[in-house]
């Protein structure tokens, strides 16, 4: 047991470092601000695109993909090694391409025509075109298959009406993959069909959603008589759910990382060192120390769980299901730890931004944590996933399973 690279991995790491040294500057340490947590990479679009292009040229954009498609036909472990090294450099490696390349383009590669692949894959890989995923709707978040956006066929053209929501990055996306209802007379999973479309098509309206945290990372999209040619269909009519599962499977293949905005035990300890409580310095308070220990074992546990997953990949094995705990644990920890830190700050805990202690990083964490507990699968859905897919417990009773979609009771 060790944390060392295999000789092949070490060689690859050296190769990557050499390339990064030639193409980027090492990252200098910088404090996390509340704005960082709110905006992520959205503010650095031009830099992100330029960096993506550089990586695509040498096959570091999608390392596991074939040569000539942005990859080098590498292993998942090589992909992780690249990310580890890239994180040490001052580059715009944030997320505008993650959804497109992680989910949409793999779906297109599985179900799209040869012409479509030729047209769309490379521009997406090198960052010229950004994709978003249009699944969730106002009437159904966790219950994605209960979606209502209609696609109606007339000749070779489909007409789309409806609305999608919680779409990350739609405001700067060029294309999207869209899950629609094409037959309301059959049970909900059977009446779905997948398409891709231009986000600039007539009838597509993108409105940013102002979040409770004040930022706007998500959007609601309205479709009014949007026309899509049948050639932009992915998979057969009525097979949309199967196609969507491919998309979501690609999402889960991504190794769970350290979401949480960089707020963790070291920041809490830094705060506690500089605060005075009723009985002396906060860092000496037994209740504070006990909480620090609680969150430390969670953070360390997640870190070493990731190491276990990486070990499986490094050995060429299928990772176990343990990575599925990450989001559930991280989101709750962020919320609890931020709230605790604000409590330590006392009456000043309500202040935000530069008026708050430590530039408001805990207020930022606290504000964003409800979103993290919901986005990409709520805590409750994550627990269902662990219970059903990892532990093999039965699915919930599905009262809507055999009922035609248009006969289902729905929220008002």
């Amino acid at each position: 047991m060790d944390f060392e690279d295999s000789p092949e991995e070490a060689a690859f790491r050296a190769e990557v470092r050499k390339w990064l040294d030639a193409n980027a500057k090492p990252r200098t340490k910088r404090e996390i601000t509340a704005e960082d947590m709110e905006n992520g990479a959205a503010g650095m679009m031009a830099a992100s695109k330029a960096w993506q292009k550089k990586k695509a040229e040498v096959g570091y954009a999608r390392i596991t993909w074939p040569k000539g498609q942005g990859g080098i036909g590498g292993t998942p472990m090589q992909s992780i090694i690249f990310s580890q090294e890239e994180a040490k450099y001052d580059v715009a490696n944030g997320g505008p391409f993650a959804i497109g390349l992680g989910m949409c383009i793999p779906t297109l590669m599985t179900y799209g025509s040869e012409d479509a692949k030729k047209r769309y894959v490379w521009p997406a890989v090198q960052g010229d075109e950004i994709w978003c995923q249009l699944f969730s709707e106002p009437a159904g978040g966790s219950d994605v298959a209960g979606l209502r956006t209609k696609a109606e066929k007339d000749g070779d053209t489909w007409t789309i009406n409806g609305s999608k929501i919680w779409t990350t990055g739609a405001q700067f996306s060029d294309y999207g993959i869209l899950l629609t209802r094409t037959d309301p007379n059959v049970p909900k999973h059977k009446g779905l069909t997948m398409f891709y479309l231009s986000m600039k098509a007539p009838g597509v309206e993108i409105r940013p959603i102002k979040q409770a945290s004040g930022g706007s990372g998500f959007n609601q999209i309205f479709f009014t008589d949007v026309k899509i040619p049948d050639s932009q269909r992915l998979g057969a009519v009525g097979q949309g759910w199967t196609v969507a599962l491919t998309t979501l499977m690609h999402e889960r293949l991504a190794v769970g990382g350290g979401a949480g905005g960089g707020l963790d035990v070291p920041q809490l300890m830094a705060l506690a060192r500089n605060l005075e409580l009723e009985d002396g310095p906060a860092i000496k308070n037994a209740a504070v120390r006990e909480k620090i220990a609680d969150w430390y074992v969670k953070s360390a546990g997640l870190k070493y769980t990731t190491f276990r997953t990486m070990t499986a990949l490094s050995r060429g094995q299928q990772p176990g299901p343990e990575a599925s705990i990450a989001k559930l644990v991280v989101a709750t920890k962020l919320q609890d730890m931020s709230a605790f830190a604000m409590d330590l700050e006392g009456e000043a805990g309500i202040l935000q931004g530069s008026d708050a202690p430590m530039h408001g990083m805990f207020q930022g964490g606290w504000l964003s944590s409800p979103g993290l507990r919901i986005a990409g699968g709520t805590d409750e859905i994550m627990r269902n996933i662990i219970a059903e897919r990892v532990l093999g417990l039965p699915q919930d009773v599905r009262v809507d399973k055999d009922v035609p979609f248009n006969k289902l009771p729905a929220s008002r």
Binding site: A293, G301, Y304, F307, I325
Partner: protein, 374 residues
């Protein structure tokens, strides 16, 4: 990245598991709950014959000299089986104490006997309820004689030898502390059997009245040596706790799938599913922390105190949650003597307290974090 056990270690784990599945079911535990024996002497003998006690003891001292990761996988299986034997006290506390603080002669004298299963050893630290602190250690060691009382000594009735934390000098703090090695089969040692929550892991109070003892390490090093020994034992015990917690999850799952209420298996209700999902999360966090502890122990890394404390805290939390919620998942039947649930509930508490409580380990963890950040 190579953060997992090797194929050989996994093979060893499978062998240990196979052996214990045959030789140590919860029937062995139940026998101790319902009878007068304090440990399973037949199983103990067989375990000794397998050589497990000498797993991490070097060959020159009669052990197998395999290593600590091998001992970790054995520990997990022993924890899974609730093995009612003095393995923890003998192999983790006593043998580790001799290895860490003993002279060459002491290693030669005691370790081969441990490895062969000829002696049972333990460690006596606490002198009363509450925190164990240097200033509270009153058992005295003067002129080769030990006097005073130690309480709640695990396997204290059956141990042949014990390591005892005692005060050897006039200094009332840490600098006066000394580890001693004492033969418990002498007239100067009085043992009183204690009533405990978990009858499959017996305890005794030990009173020393001018009992002959030898020094183990130097005066002034007693406290730091104790901490180092307990760090090592904490990692190994964490594997036992992880094993126990995993069984609780499997038991709860098995029962929830079989038990029907309101026309469907209770495993189909989210109240149960989410409980078991939470159990899984805690168990995986504990397992990963234990692996890191195992790495630190096997490489004698300077991170060991932090890794041990994290492994200890995470494993205690996981086994605590898993054992109580396993009982809860079983409903009324889970609270009966006939069901096995209470064995795990009680063992989780025994293991959670035997090396000191979670609170003390959390304090140690944060103290280590403060040092490493300084």
């Amino acid at each position: 990245m190579n953060f997992d056990f090797s194929d050989d270690q996994k093979e060893l784990k499978a062998q240990v598991s196979k052996f214990l599945t045959e030789k140590c079911t919860t029937k062995n535990v139940r026998k101790l709950y319902d009878g007068k024996d304090r440990y399973d002497a037949v199983l103990w003998k067989e375990i000794a014959q397998m050589g497990w006690l000498g797993t991490a003891i070097p060959e020159e001292f009669g052990g197998l000299g395999l290593g600590y990761l091998e001992l970790c996988v054995i520990a997990e299986e022993l924890g899974r089986a609730l093995a009612p034997v003095p393995f923890n006290s003998t192999a983790y506390l006593f043998a580790e104490g001799v290895l860490l603080a003993g002279s060459e002669d002491q290693k030669k004298k005691y370790l081969p006997k441990v490895a062969a299963g000829e002696i049972i050893g333990t460690f006596a630290r606490a002198e009363g309820p509450g925190a164990v602190l240097p200033k509270n250690i009153r058992v005295s060691f003067k002129g080769g004689k030990l006097s005073g009382k130690k309480v709640a000594v695990v396997d204290g009735m059956d141990a042949d030898c014990a390591i005892v934390l005692a005060r050897a000098g006039d200094d009332a703090g840490e600098r006066g502390l000394q580890l001693c090695l004492v033969d418990l089969k002498q007239s100067g040692v009085k043992r009183e059997e204690c009533e405990t929550l978990d009858p499959s892991r017996p305890y005794a109070n030990l009173t020393f009245d001018n009992a002959s003892a030898e020094t183990l390490g130097k005066v002034g090093e007693g406290w730091s040596n104790t901490q180092r020994i307990y760090d090592r034992a904490a990692v190994l015990t964490a594997f036992e706790q992880v094993g126990g917690a995993d069984v609780c999850l499997q038991m709860a799952k098995g029962y929830a799938l079989e038990r029907y209420a309101f026309g469907r298996p209770i495993a189909s209700y989210q109240a149960i599913k989410h409980k078991l999902a939470d159990m899984y999360c805690l168990n995986e966090l504990a397992r990963s922390n234990a692996y890191y502890g195992g790495w630190a122990l096997s490489t004698n890394a300077h991170e060991l105190p932090l890794a041990a404390a994290a492994a200890r805290v995470a494993a205690t939390q996981a086994f605590d949650y898993a054992s109580k919620e396993n009982t809860q998942t079983h409903g009324g039947i889970g609270f009966t003597w006939e069901m096995d649930c209470h064995f795990y509930y009680k063992r989780s508490k025994q293991l959670g307290l035997v090396l000191g409580p979670q609170r003390a380990w959390k304090e140690r963890l944060v103290a280590e974090l403060e040092t490493s950040n300084a």
